[in-house]
Symmetry: C2
Subunit: 119 residues, 2 copies
């Protein structure tokens, strides 16, 4: 049982769209990631997903609108909801989601990360 | 589906040791709370509990050691682990835990908050 310093974890990697696992509780994972550019449209059939912004600005696009998130703000994307994260500049995020969650949800492809590192 | 600004939520109340619910996903609740002083020793039989520090310093005491948490740091307290949060000065925290979690765990008493407000 060790504390996790988010900023220290973020210094351990620099690639984008490749979440790292930093904690696990009650079958849920805590992840951190750096995002920049446009992700793929996708949804998660069975998992709600929480995006919490550590530093920067993240746009979460939906088919009919978008939500802009800044430091210390979060959004819960309900399961089954198509969404696409977009970051004009690099943004650091913390994610909370079930351990079963695949980053690209129902859109398996080149952005998919099946095995995530634990850091 | 609305974004949550943690700092705005924290401005809505000033009492200590009285968590508010700010989000729900996958049977888990996201809560915010202001803490100051010493809480009661307790454990949660079935729930792991995550403390994330928004602003300030929180000591989490265990029977054999303590962990000091600062901004952007978190600790997961595993179920069954006796702990006592202590804050010398006011600290603002975000909690992530199952919807079944009672703040005082197995120590029902005057600090217990059974019905939490959703803000």
């Amino acid at each position: 049982m060790e504390k996790v310093k988010i900023n220290e974890k973020l210094n351990l990697f620099s690639d984008h769209w490749n979440p790292r696992i930093v904690g696990e509780l009650n079958g849920q994972l805590v992840k951190v990631a750096k995002l920049k550019g446009e992700f793929v449209w996708h949804s998660h059939e069975d998992e709600d997903e929480l995006f919490f912004i550590i530093k920067g600005e993240l746009i979460i696009e939906f088919r009919d609108r978008q939500v802009i998130l800044k430091d210390n703000e979060f959004l819960i994307v309900p399961k089954g909801t198509e969404h696409r994260p977009v970051a004009k500049e690099e943004v650091a995020v913390m994610l909370f989601e079930p351990a079963t969650t695949l980053n690209t949800g129902n859109q398996y492809g080149e952005m998919t990360r099946e095995k995530l590192d634990k850091i």
